[in-house]
Structure formats: structure tokens, C-alpha cells
């Protein structure tokens, strides 16, 4: 399956048109103006039925990932026709708007074939990369720049501009994950596969919010995205505020800041000996281990390798007792407090 770049450019431009305010005499005339702009764009950029279908398939794949049944996207054979919803119930206003222009029958129920097509398409659109100039070229050829100058200005100067060319950094927050998963993230020697297409956000604060949403542990990824990969769901998704970008590729973590907590291993675990159960805060990066006992620095080791840091984390976070010798020469036998970790990891998508 090949990527239809013109259809991809149209999705970005439709999102921008949806946000555009033509400042006409009434809201009805504004809607009319926007609809005409979308039709002009589609007629110019996607003259064939096949290219229009490609556009519909892309928006549908994104919609099923962001607001459909994700388990069925991953495994379309698990599709249950009895639980199938009508398509319009999971569409965003912007996607409904586009589907109206394309006369898509969105009152029909979602099918297993829709999910199967989404599964095939998500890795392709998630790894798609498009230059701002390629999108502008589609816009210029449509003639909209001259017939709708305020739209051209909107695309040029509004936040939509960034979306036109993709994003050079994307974020993802996860919460309520296991200690083992946190350990895995700190293994910098091993990348992992995200080629099925995953949800990320262009908005750091939004992703951070999701990392804190449920219980511990908290994980926040920030991926450099130099080739600006990804399919901009943004307002085309029903969850527009999340500012989602569907991304696929191989994730490589280069750096992180991890904090978790431990306590003395040989003390009554119920803490009945008042004042005896010391709490240790352990902060680790791939270059440094720093342990604080209460409010005082207890142990510090600088200039370590990423592998050394990972091995320490693997031992400490496994929940088995581990020993460290403090700055004052005293040895402490500690045990990690389960699910107390927060990690911010930085890497890139390849």
C-alpha cells in the first residue's frame, strides 16, 4: 500500500480550513465559504475517485485509532458486529464536515473491513513525512490562495502553520505502569518498535497530564522528530484538545530523569518503630545516581555510563534488597517502594 501524498496534504489543509474564520456577514455564509473552499481543494488536488477514497481511508483510520475500538484496530478478527456503532458517533465535527463534502454515508455502521483497512494504513500514515512546501504546493495549485486570500493568511500566520509542515517534537504520557516497564525504558541500548502507529501529542502539557492521570508510575516521553513524521489528527480527531499526532517508527531513548523511592530493608515494614523507617529518594540519569536520605544527600555517583545506570535501576527497582555505601561510609541496605517512580524520557523516532 503506497502513501497518497496529495491526500495527506489535503487532510492537513482541511484541518486548517475548518479553523479558518472567513469573517463573512453571517455564520451561515462562513460555513458556506469553508465548504466551498474544501470542495475547491478536493476537486483540484484529488480529481479521481481513488484519490478521494484514499483521503477517506486516512481519516477513517485515524478516527478508528483515536475514538474507535483500539483492540479491534490491532486485531480486526475480534470485530463484533453487534457492538458496532454508526460511524458518525465517533467522528469529530471537522471530519463530519469533510465527509459531508465527500458525501460519505457516515450513518452506516462501522465494518470489520474498515478496521482491517485502518490496521494496514496506520503504519503508513504514521510514518509519513511531508514538507511544508509540499502542502503549500497543493494549496497553491488549488487556486485558493488567490480566491480566498484570508484563508491563505490564516494558514500562513496562525498556529495551523506548524501543523502544515508537521512537528519536530512529539510527546506521550503513560500512567499506572509496572516497575518492570520503567526498567525497560532505561535500557538505552535497545530501541523498540512502534510501527503499528501510536497516539502522541504535539502538546507537552497535554501529554504530561496523561502521565499523571491515573496511579503511579508516571511516564512522559518526548521524542525528537527531525523528519516531522506523523499523521496530524489534531482537530480532525474527536479528542481535538489532545492535539494528537499518529506516529509510527522505531523509538530510541537517549536520556531520562528517573525518580523513585526506597526505604531501609531491615526495618519493620509496617513502620511501627517511630522515626526508624528512613525514606530514600533515588534520582537517576544515564550519567548520574543521586540518593537522598530524608532531606540530606546520602550518595552520589557521577560520570557513569548508561549501562551502569540501567543495571543499578534493574537491581534496585526489582524490589529485592540492595546495598549502597553513603558519603559518610555507612552502608545502607535498601528496598525499593513499589510503584513510586516518575520518569521523563527523551529520545527520537527513526
Amino acid at each position: 500500500m503506497e502513501l497518497d501524498k496529495k491526500a495527506l496534504a489535503v487532510t492537513r489543509l482541511v484541518a486548517a480550513i475548518y479553523e479558518w474564520d472567513p469573517r463573512g456577514p453571517s455564520s451561515a455564509s462562513d460555513e458556506w465559504d469553508k465548504e466551498k473552499a474544501v470542495k475547491q481543494l478536493i476537486d483540484s488536488a484529488l480529481p479521481s475517485e481513488q484519490s478521494r477514497q484514499n483521503l477517506i481511508d486516512m481519516v477513517l483510520a485515524m478516527t478508528l485509532l483515536t475514538s474507535g475500538n483500539v483492540a479491534t484496530v490491532r486485531d480486526p478478527s475480534s470485530f463484533d458486529p453487534k457492538k458496532s456503532k454508526q460511524l458518525y458517533t465517533i467522528l469529530s465535527s471537522a471530519s463530519k464536515y469533510l465527509f459531508n463534502c465527500l458525501r460519505v454515508p457516515y450513518h452506516q455502521k462501522i465494518t470489520q473491513e474498515n478496521y482491517a483497512a485502518a490496521k494496514k494504513l496506520l503504519p503508513i500514515i504514521g510514518s509519513s513525512s511531508m514538507l511544508e512546501s509540499e502542502v503549500y504546493s497543493v494549496f497553491s495549485k488549488s487556486g485558493l490562495a488567490s480566491t480566498k486570500p484570508t484563508l491563505a493568511k490564516h494558514i500562513d500566520t496562525s498556529p495551523a502553520k506548524a501543523g502544515i509542515g508537521g512537528y519536530d517534537q512529539l510527546h506521550r504520557g503513560l500512567s499506572n505502569v509496572s516497575d518492570a516497564m520503567v526498567i525497560r525504558i532505561t535500557n538505552l541500548d535497545k530501541s523498540w518498535d512502534m510501527s503499528r502507529g501510536v497516539s502522541t501529542s504535539r502538546n507537552y502539557a497535554s501529554a504530561k497530564g496523561f502521565s499523571m492521570k491515573e496511579g503511579t508510575n508516571h511516564v512522559l516521553f518526548s521524542f525528537d522528530n527531525p523528519t516531522k513524521k506523523g499523521f496530524n489528527a489534531l482537530r480532525m480527531s474527536k479528542y481535538g484538545k489532545e492535539e494528537e499526532v499518529v506516529l509510527s517508527g522505531v523509538a530510541q531513548i537517549d536520556n531520562y530523569q528517573l525518580t523513585f523511592y526506597a526505604e531501609d530493608a531491615d526495618i519493620d515494614p509496617n513502620g511501627t518503630g517511630f522515626g526508624r523507617n528512613s525514606e530514600y529518594a533515588i534520582q537517576i540519569t544515564p550519567q548520574m545516581i543521586f540518593v537522598r536520605k530524608g532531606l540530606r544527600p546520602f550518595f552520589v555517583k557521577n560520570d557513569i555510563s548508561g549501562q551502569e545506570a540501567h543495571l543499578f535501576i534493574k537491581e534496585a527497582m526489582s524490589g529485592k534488597p540492595f546495598s549502597i555505601t553513603g558519603k559518610d561510609g555507612t552502608e545502607a541496605k535498601l528496598v525499593c517502594k513499589p510503584k513510586t517512580a516518575s520518569i521523563e524520557a527523551f529520545g527520537s523516532i527513526k
Binding site: 485509532l65 483515536t66 475514538s67 483500539v70 490491532r74 506521550r172 504520557g173 503513560l174 505502569v177 509496572s178 516497575d179 518492570a180 516497564m181 526498567i183 525497560r184 525504558i185 535500557n187 535497545k190 523498540w192 518498535d193 512502534m194 503499528r196 501510536v198 497516539s199 501529542s201 497535554s206 501529554a207 496523561f210 479528542y239 489532545e242 494528537e244 515494614p269 534493574k314 526489582s318 524490589g319 529485592k320 528496598v335 525499593c336 513499589p338
Partner: protein
């Protein structure tokens, strides 16, 4: 004292949560053997979920 249906449900819910926490804590006692493949599978599964879940 006669408890309402909602109060009984609430008590059962709280007791159940307490027992689940105790089981979790007991399971964590003594630590776990790290399995990199399982941890990576969990990571991929978590990332595959929608953000708003």
C-alpha cells in the same frame, strides 16, 4: 442498624479494594525477576492504547 443497599455495596467495594491492595503488596514482597521481553511487550501494549483511555 439497617444498612442501605448502597452502603452495603460501598463496604464490599472498600473491603475488596483493601484485599486487592494486600495481595498486590504480598506479591511485591521479595521483589520480582525482571523479564525484558515481557516489560517491552507491556510498553508496546500501553503505547498502543489511546491517550484518553
Amino acid at each position: 442498624m439497617k444498612l442501605t443497599k448502597a452502603q452495603i455495596k460501598q463496604i464490599i467495594k472498600e473491603e475488596l479494594e483493601q484485599v486487592m491492595r494486600e495481595i498486590e503488596d504480598e506479591e511485591q514482597m521479595g521483589g520480582f525477576d525482571y523479564d525484558e521481553e515481557a516489560a517491552e511487550a507491556e510498553l508496546q501494549a500501553k503505547l498502543a492504547e489511546p491517550m484518553h483511555q
